[in-house]
Amino acid sequence: MSPAKRYHALTIDEQKCMGCTHCMKVCPTEAIRVAGGLAEIRADRCVDCGHCMRACPVKAIYVEQDDLQNIQSFKYRVVLFPAVMIGQFPEKYTEDQIYAALLKIGFTHVFEVEQPIGILKTSIKEYCRKSPDNRPHISTFCPAIVRLIQIRYPSLTENLIKRKAPHDLVAHFAISELKKQGAKEEEIGLFYVTPCNAKISSVKSPVGETESIVDGIINMDAIYNRVMKAIDDSEAADTSARRQNLTRDGILWSLTRGEARNFGERSMAIDGIHNVIRFLERLENEEVPDIDFLELRACDQSCAGGIMMTGNRFLTVERLERRAKRYPPTWKLQNSPAIKESKQLKQKLVADTIIPKPAFSLDKDRKRALEKMARAQRIICFLPGIDCGACGAPNCQALAEDMVNGKAKMSDCIFLQQMWENEGKIDTKKALRNVEKKWGEKRFQADCNKRGRRNEGF
């Protein structure tokens, strides 16, 4: 994959997609359109937040994943998973039992992603201290937020902290730990369990590295099902040694305020991408007070609400908070051999400057962009302002913008078309053909078995 092209993990299943407006309506960047009865995602605007997946009533949007069978080709089969995973399991299963199940599935080594958190915490603190100009410092933990800032708030890219996220680091951490045990690099297979599609994209096309060192990605819901099948109620072996580098801060890191609690005199944590957008609008206008640190997450309840998480997000948070209390704070482990000897890891922490990728301009040429904008403003006068989505665009304004870019036409608006019919400007047959082009042939015929007939899923 060329680094210029971004990897997006979301795919639309054309067999399942019934052509409705749910995904299009919730997309925070207006990246979705419907045509020919199918939703399509515009890659340059997609931030991988996964909101469309959540909204789809027929589960037509899915995330590709690597085959779990692939692990068998390695001697050291390592599963890397975020601590939040533990939180989604029913309470009756202990950490030992969950770890035992992962080993039973076929992994030889188990690493929770947040183990090297102490190093990251120190590094972020240092970065914030040394770059006082770019405040508020914005966390780069959530890849969907980083991408949102790149495309929609380009002036804020300078505020992004130039440090990588735990999921970028743990692979290096695992390799260095296994090498200490005598493993050769080519014998190690690293498999990352992800709570969301945003992290897939960032693991598959990491910034500043030519290729990912992770050998495969496993979706959280898939591993959940596998573990639930393999898990055993009986007494499991003590696996606490495998968690000796895990800390309280690490366990809480991916939850809301998990980062914010650690940094700055004044810090804020905002979860839910629509909340984040409202706040960034203000931040961009300098309408906010002096804040030192901003933790922004695309999902409600942060990663506990990740699109591929199975448990109830609030129960997940509750379990993790209780779990965290049993673990030592990070400073107690700062002298542990694994953390102390990880010089190499410290270098890996530094991330490249994140460049703006504005995706909302109407035209590369300013003069033409201005003309298009003026034209869109005139078109808006004719559209009804109902924002119904029946044209295949999320709202009237978006349709007008699509029109000036040659991607839509006046007759896409069903109300305009209705008026034209009334005025005898267009014949009824042609009008129907027009709507069928958007929503699919025979889409409007009575059929009790049509896809999504009763909005399954609600």
């Binding site: 961009e284 301009s361 962009a369």
Partner: protein, 136 residues
């Protein structure tokens, strides 16, 4: 392209509306982020001044290929001593306005800092007109 917005004196919950609208449009024109930031900050400060200090106002925006011209015309008490008002830290904001987080006396100086050209005219007991130009 010409645009027009109205400002309601005393209504802080609506302040910043015009600035946000303009910001969205400038992004669509592909204007450089830093430039947009300057324009939006200046505009927001001017809007808030009308809300905080005057009765009602109007914003006239003209976007051309090389620049944006904004006029903010208000009906209000006017500014008796413009030179004084332009000084950093000078403010006549009421206690109520200060409690809302405004009134540091930084608005007008900030507008000047963030615009390429800035003109201000005021008649006591009549109103104030600001004109600002930013080149892209």
């Amino acid at each position: 392209m010409k645009l027009q917005f109205t400002i309601e004196g005393g209504n802080f919950s609506n302040a910043g509306h015009a600035a946000s609208e303009i910001k969205k449009m400038l992004k669509q024109l592909g204007i450089e982020a830093r430039c947009i930031r300057n324009i939006v900050i200046a505009m927001y400060e001017a809007e808030v001044n009308v809300v905080a200090h005057a009765f009602e106002g109007q914003i006239l925006v003209d976007i051309e290929t090389d620049k944006i011209t904004t006029e903010i015309i208000d009906k209000g008490p006017g500014i008796p001593d413009i030179e004084l008002a332009m000084q950093e830290g000078y403010s006549t904001a009421s206690k109520k306005v200060r409690e809302m987080g405004f009134g540091a006396g930084m608005g007008l100086p900030n507008i000047k800092k963030n615009t390429d050209e800035f003109y201000i005219e005021s008649t006591v007991n009549s109103g104030t007109t600001l004109k600002m130009i930013n080149y892209f």
